[in-house]
């Protein structure tokens, strides 16, 4: 088990642009300026924290968490699993909310930057864990709501991480994590190499709200 405060250092630029539905071409100066300002503000106001725990796959407390065929497939070669959660904290949330009333365009940029920031943090943690568990391999991150895993897994997963007390993450009655800029996930630890990111849209974590996909297109990247 580990938990600690984090500093938001690097936020993936391509990730920010993706959340802004960037489809190629020039980025005008005013957009660049908004992104730069939002990046600074998100870094400044974030109170990021993360935590993970390691459990045996057949541990009793995972019974109401490892639900569905997809997670079963993902963990096929693992007998231990990691549960993790990371959050940017509430301050970023308030920042986005306030700007929605004075500068909606900027609020949208902040929202995109914050989404990219928490994603980047999750990636950093992932890398750290990969190092820590080498020579074992880690599976992809899998979150409640992916594939056939119900959103209702969110509650038990966060409880196991003691996420309300340790990270300040709570859920709403509809299993939405608050603060919204939070990620919770399950990873398998395996002796066998794991295939990374299923290519194509179906395996993409942006599947649900991808504007490009909804318009019938594809970003073309194996995500």
């Amino acid at each position: 088990m580990s938990h600690m405060n984090l500093r938001v250092e690097n936020i993936s630029r391509s990730e920010i642009l993706k959340y802004l539905h960037y489809a190629g071409g020039d980025i005008p100066a005013d957009m660049e300026a908004m992104i730069a300002r939002a990046t600074e503000e998100v870094k400044e106001s974030a109170r990021a924290k993360y935590r993970y725990v390691e459990k045996a796959k057949d541990a009793r407390e995972l019974e109401d968490i490892l639900l569905g065929r997809d997670i079963e497939l993902l963990l096929a070669s693992s007998d231990r699993v990691l549960l993790m959660a990371v959050t940017l904290g509430r301050e970023v949330e308030m920042l986005i909310r306030r700007q929605a009333f004075s500068n909606l365009a900027y609020s949208v940029v902040l929202d995109a930057v914050a989404s990219a920031a928490v994603e980047s943090l999750a990636e950093d943690i992932n890398r750290e864990l990969e190092g820590k568990y080498a020579p074992c391999h880690l599976t992809e991150r899998f979150s409640p709501g992916y594939g056939d895993m119900p959103m209702s897994v969110q509650g038990p997963l966060l409880r196991l991480l003691n996420a309300d007390k340790e990270l300040g993450i709570a859920t709403t009655a509809g299993h939405i994590m608050v603060p919204r800029k939070s990620i919770s996930a399950i990873l398998g630890i395996s002796r066998l190499p794991q295939s990374k990111r299923v290519p194509g849209c179906e395996g993409c974590r942006l599947y649900a709200d991808c504007e490009i996909r909804k318009r019938g297109g594809s970003c073309g990247k194996p995500k």
Partner: protein
């Protein structure tokens, strides 16, 4: 609890001990009270044997949200019974333990303040057999307020409150010691303090600050140090006890342990400090106005934004009538950006449900801003409604020298621990002389004292009269401020702008009068913070008075003007290019020019709409970003506002193309998509009624009926709230069969939107405009 001035030992962790006794993973600890009472009684006995004088019942999570197999009253009753069995005939106090509900309250979550109150009430009513109530491990001040009010109103037991702070001195929700103490210490609680999250060493500096801030008894219950990788804590029992002894020496009366502590920790702690004298404290009570996360110590010069007041403000009046919350919140944000420290909020207007609207706006504004509020009404029920849901410590504006006013409002000020403004007028009106106003102020201060409201919490308003009709009025007001400050030692407040009524160049007069009033000792200046001269007067006065940070603030505000970018020139742009670049000032200038030569509707049809269409096409083809589309819409909207004004000045009908309701459905707090849709439709000239987020189906139906709405837009971002969308659609269709409904949101698809009964699926930020065009035919 406990004898006067002797240190009292509390117990240690319950969960840690239950786990060691073999509690199964996934088991709800509170339900063990019924399933395995022996296990719980055993923990209590161990703590009593170790020297604890107060035991907390095993009810931390005994609320309706967390229990699975039993109801709250069963569990709480059994928990108290278990504690009593463990106590036997010993002189041990039983505290009803209440932890967080486990679900996030509004505004970030969807659990309403009123629902939280009911959940706590249920526990408190079941727990009347305890000797005290402890509300602990809280991180959200709003939840604390709900719990404390529920405890006060449904029990007569003493209440103790502790919150959990991180090492940076704030809770997860951003609450500081100052905002916690300022809001809660005067709310009728017996003790206040800190528990969980940190060990005694990390907590020491915070406790040192806390013991000075309040004269209440202090409760400290830290963890057994900081958590280690394996889930254990890093302080052994002897080190914990040593750390706690240092804390006890600061003047702390109640000491115990939280996560990771067991009977060994409590035994060593009891050996060191039990029954020792509580050390004297150097108390300098804090007092001021605060929100959940911002505290303003009384005594400084503060700007109170005056603009959320319907007097003479047509647009604001209309917003109150229409329930146009986003306009009002926008005005609040604008004032804070201008420099307001506090916002006055007045919603008194014919046809407006004052209590309902004041309560609603308090919630909406505190969801967005951390600026403390001044609740402006003379109606008891409106003030009570607002004070109840206000998250922090508000100023009540106002009472006057009349007995009715004092007797009606002062009890509320006391109950909700607010500060209060007293107007120096009574049934005779505003007295002419400063001495007479002082006399009324004296009466107000005296009567407040009768209710237990100290001088520090009173602001006297000596009232500015119009100098054009009463030439001596300005000097009399200034004299009154001087007298009130000197003789009564209270703070003062003044609405400055009245002074210049009926004169040209009012701001010049206001500015001079403000400076004079500040010199006489004015504390709260109620002004328009978006007026440059008024803020200049405030900021320069602070520099001249050599107040802390004033010069830095002044330079920050006015030092870098030359760095500002050169404004775009109107002549360099067409309406189309100005809209495309989102240049609202240029669009306005262009529209103004055209209004001289072109019909209003022609400007809309031939200029603004084609410009927006082009931007929309660029967005759809991926040539521009979403924020650019929004900026363009905002710029077009600015042009539209001018056109509307021009039409209404000519007395013609408005040019709204149709009324549209937008709402984010119940349970969903993601409203960015809805906000974007709103701006897009407004930019095309539709009148959008924004019901906000987490909206009940019944509210959508009622508004749609009242306003004869033909088109409703609903958004939902989460799969979990799609059922609520389906339900809202069903209700709407049942009540208004020919209504059109469009839906949008990340998880929706064309197919699914048909399945849940929507007429249109809105795939992106601009598709809503196309739907509105179809529905309204324009």
């Amino acid at each position: 609890m406990g004898s006067q001035n002797k240190t009292v030992i509390l117990d240690g962790a319950m969960g840690t001990m239950l786990q060691r006794s073999g509690m199964k993973p996934g088991q709800i600890p509170e339900e063990l009270n019924i399933d395995r009472p022996g296990m719980v009684i055993d923990v209590h006995r161990k703590y009593i044997a170790a020297g604890a004088q107060v035991i907390y019942t095993c009810t931390f999570g005994a609320n309706r949200k967390k229990l699975r197999n039993y109801v709250v009253s069963q569990v709480v009753a059994k928990a108290i019974e278990n504690a009593r069995l463990a106590r036997g005939h010993q002189d041990i106090k039983i505290a009803l333990d209440i932890g967080p509900l486990g679900e996030m309250l509004e505004p970030l979550g969807t659990l309403k303040f009123e629902e939280a109150y009911e959940l706590f009430r249920e526990i408190i009513e079941a727990g009347r057999g305890a000797d005290a109530i402890v509300i602990e491990t809280m991180t959200d001040l709003y939840e604390v307020r709900a719990a404390v009010l529920a405890a006060r109103e449904n029990s007569s037991l003493p209440i103790f409150v502790t919150m959990s702070f991180e090492e940076d001195g704030r809770t997860f929700a951003g609450v500081s010691l100052e905002t916690f103490v300022n809001s809660i210490a005067g709310l009728g609680v017996a003790g206040i303090g800190i528990n969980c999250s940190l060990g005694p060493l990390q907590m020491y500096d915070m406790v040192k600050k806390l013991v000075e801030m309040t004269d209440l008894d202090i409760v400290i219950k830290p963890n057994a140090g900081m958590p280690r990788m394996d889930g254990s804590y890093d302080l052994a029992a002897p080190d914990f006890a040593a750390g706690m002894e240092k804390i006890q020496k600061l003047g702390v009366k109640y000491v115990g342990g939280c996560c990771g502590t067991d009977e060994a920790y409590i035994r060593l702690l009891a050996e060191r400090v039990r029954d020792q004298e509580v050390a004297p404290r150097n108390i300098r009570k804090i007092s001021g106005v605060s929100s959940a996360t911002r505290f303003l110590q009384s005594g400084g010069i503060r700007v109170v934004g005056e603009r959320l007041n319907p007097t003479g403000k047509k647009r604001y009046q209309q917003a109150l009538i229409d329930g146009d919350v986003s306009y009002i919140v926008g005005q609040a944000v604008e004032q804070v950006d201008g420099g307001a420290d506090i916002l006055d909020l007045n919603v008194g207007f014919p046809g407006v449900d004052e209590a309902g609207m004041l309560r609603r706006l308090v919630k909406e504004i505190q969801a967005v801003l951390d600026t403390p509020l001044q609740l402006d009404s003379t109606r008891v029920e409106a003030l009570e409604a607002a004070l109840r849901v206000y998250n922090g410590r508000a100023i009540v504006n106002s009472v006057n020298g009349e007995d009715d006013s004092l007797e009606g409002i002062l009890p509320l000020v006391k109950k909700y621990h607010a500060q209060v403004i007293g107007l120096t007028l009574d049934k005779r009106g505003i007295p002419d002389t400063a001495e007479e106003r002082l006399a009324i102020a004296e009466k107000i201060v005296r009567r407040a004292a009768d209710y237990g409201i100290p001088k520090e919490d009173i602001y006297i308003d000596c009232l500015a009269l119009t100098v054009s009709s009463q030439p001596e009025a300005a000097m009399e007001t200034l004299e009154a401020i001087r007298l009130v400050k000197k003789q009564l030692g209270v703070k003062t407040v003044l609405g400055v702008s009245n002074i210049s009524f009926g004169l040209p160049n009012r701001e010049a007069v206001n500015q001079s009068f403000l400076t004079l009033a500040l010199y006489e000792g004015l504390d709260l200046a109620i002004i328009n913070p978006n007026s440059r001269p008024m803020m200049e007067a405030i900021r320069s006065y602070k520099v001249l008075r050599n107040l802390d940070g004033a010069t830095e603030d002044f330079i920050r505000c006015y030092g870098n003007v030359e760095e500002k970018s050169v404004p775009e020139k109107t002549e360099d742009h067409t309406i189309a290019s100005a809209v495309a670049k989102g240049l609202d000032q240029v669009v306005k200038a262009k529209v103004r020019q055209l209004l001289g030569t072109m019909d209003e509707l022609a400007i809309v049809d031939r200029e603004l709409v084609p410009a927006l269409d082009q931007v929309g096409r660029d967005y759809e083809s991926g040539r521009i970003f979403l924020p650019q589309l929004i900026k363009a819409a905002g710029a077009a909207q600015a042009g539209f506002a001018l056109i509307r004004d021009s039409i209404s000045q000519k007395g013609r009908d408005s040019i709204s193309k149709g009324d549209v309701i937008v709402a984010t459905v119940k349970g969903d707090v993601h409203d960015i998509g809805k906000n974007i849709a709103k701006v897009m439709m407004e930019s095309y000239g539709y009148n959008v009624i924004d019901l906000g987020k987490d909206v009940e189906a019944a509210d959508v139906v009622r508004t749609a009926k009242e306003r004869n709405i033909r088109l409703v837009g609903l958004s939902a971002l989460m799969t979990t709230t799609l059922d609520n969308m389906r339900e809202t659609i069903a209700e709407l269709k049942k009540e208004i069969p020919d209504i059109c409904i469009m839906v949008g949101g990340a998880v929706l698809t064309e197919e699914y939107s048909r399945e849940i009964g929507a007429d249109y699926y809105v795939k992106d930020a601009r598709a809503d405009v196309e739907v509105a065009r179809k529905v309204f035919g324009c």
